[in-house]
Symmetry: C2
Subunit: 225 residues, 2 copies
C-alpha cells in the first residue's frame, strides 16, 4: 500500500493533491470492482484494471497495493453499507415484534436485490462480485469476516422461531437461502435460457418468487418432524 493519505475529519482544508489522489484512487477501485465482478480474481490482470480506469500501470499499485490487497479492499469497501441495510431491517422487525420467517427472509434478501438492481453500475458490480465469492468456499475466510456476523444475527432470530431445530439445520437452510439469492444474480442467463424468455433487467423482478421459495423451503425444512 502507498503512503495512504489520510483525510482527517478535523482538517477540512484539503490539499489539492490529496483530493486528486483520492479521485483517481476511486477510479482505480471502481475499475477493479467491475473487472473482478465480470471475470473473477485470477483472470483479471492489473493491466486490464489500469486500462479500464484510464490510468497507467504504476498507478494501480500506487493506490491499490498488491493485487490481493486491491481485491480485499474492493470486497470490504461496500460491506458496511450492505450490512447496515440488513441490520436496520432486522432491528425494525425486532422493534415491531411478531416476526415471521417470511419477514426474516425478506429482510435478508431485499437489500441485496436492491443493490443488484440499482442504477449505479458499481453497486451492481459489487453484487455480482459477492455472488462470485460467497458461493465459493475458497474465499470463506474473507466471507466469514465480512458477512457472517450479520448472518449470525438472523440465525439467532430464526432459532427463536424454530427452537427445536438443530443448529446445523438452521445454518444449512440459511446457506441454501443465500445460494438461491446469489443465483438470481449469477445465473440469470440460465434462467432465461431455460424459460425461453429474455432475462429480466432487474433482480427485483424475482423478489416475490425468491422470497416465496426461501420462505416455503425454510418452513418445510425446519417444521417439526
Amino acid at each position: 500500500m502507498p503512503q495512504m493519505p489520510e483525510q482527517n475529519e478535523l482538517t477540512p482544508p484539503k490539499d489539492g493533491r490529496l483530493a486528486r489522489g483520492e479521485a483517481t484512487k476511486d477510479r482505480v477501485l471502481d475499475a477493479a470492482e467491475r473487472c473482478f465482478a465480470a471475470h473473477g480474481f485470477a483472470t483479471v490482470t492489473i493491466r486490464q484494471i489500469a486500462r479500464e480506469a484510464g490510468v497507467t500501470l504504476g498507478v494501480v499499485s500506487f493506490h491499490g497495493g498488491s493485487k490481493e490487497e486491491l481485491f480485499a479492499t474492493v470486497l470490504a469497501r461496500r460491506t458496511a453499507t450492505l450490512n447496515a441495510l440488513r441490520t436496520d431491517a432486522l432491528k425494525a422487525l425486532q422493534a415491531r415484534g411478531g416476526i415471521t420467517i417470511r419477514d426474516l427472509v425478506d429482510a435478508y434478501l431485499t437489500p441485496y436485490l436492491e443493490i443488484a438492481s440499482r442504477g449505479d453500475p458499481q453497486w451492481r458490480a459489487y453484487a455480482q462480485l459477492i455472488a462470485r465469492i460467497v458461493s465459493d468456499d475458497q474465499y470463506y475466510m474473507q466471507v466469514r469476516d465480512l458477512y457472517d456476523p450479520v448472518a449470525q444475527d438472523f440465525i439467532a432470530e430464526m432459532r427463536r422461531i424454530y427452537p427445536d431445530a438443530s443448529a446445523k439445520a438452521v445454518a444449512t437452510v440459511l446457506t441454501l437461502t443465500v445460494a438461491s439469492m446469489l443465483s438470481i444474480v449469477a445465473s440469470r442467463v440460465r434462467i432465461a435460457g431455460l424459460s425461453g424468455e429474455p432475462a429480466s433487467e432487474s433482480a427485483l423482478d424475482y423478489r416475490l418468487t425468491l422470497v416465496d421459495f426461501c420462505t416455503g423451503g425454510i418452513e418445510q425444512a425446519l417444521a417439526a418432524p
Copy 2:
C-alpha cells in the same frame, strides 16, 4: 488434439501402445479433473496437472490438447452418466404415475448428491467441478449443451403439475433448486462455520433438509395466487 487413437468395438485385439496411451490419457484427465475442481480453470496450470498426473509437460498436451479442450473434455466425460441417472429416475416416476413435486426434486437432486458422496475421489471432484461452473453464467454455453436438455424434461413434468405457473417462474424455481443443491457441495465449509459444528463428510447427510427446502420452496412459489 493428438492422433486420437480410436478404440473400435469390433476390433478387440488391442494394440499394446494404444492401451498404454489410453491409460496415461485417463491419468491426465483424472488429474485435470481434480485440479480444475479444486482451484478453477484460470488458476490451474498445465504444469500442475502434469505433476499431479505424474507425467511430463508435453504429455498433457499430447493427450489433452489445449487447456480449453482439456477442460471441455473433463466436463463432458461424465455428463452422460449423470444425465442417465436423472433420466432413469424420471422415467421410473413416469412409469409409476402420480408424480409429486417432491418426487421430481428427489429424482433430480439425489443422483448428484450420490456422486458427490461416492468413495471414488474422481466422481467427487467432478461434482465439485460442476458446482463451480453451473453457478457461473460465464460457462453457460457449455452448461446449456451438457445439462439443460435433461433439465427441460424435469421442467416439462413440473409444468404438468403446475399448469398455471408461468414459464419463467418454473425456470426460476428450478434454477434456485439447482443453486441450493450445488451449495451443499460448494459451501459446506460455510455451513460448518455458521453452525459451529464440523462439516459432514457426506453430501447425502444434507439430502433430507435439501429436498424439504426445495420441495417446500417450489410449492410455495408456484402455488396459485
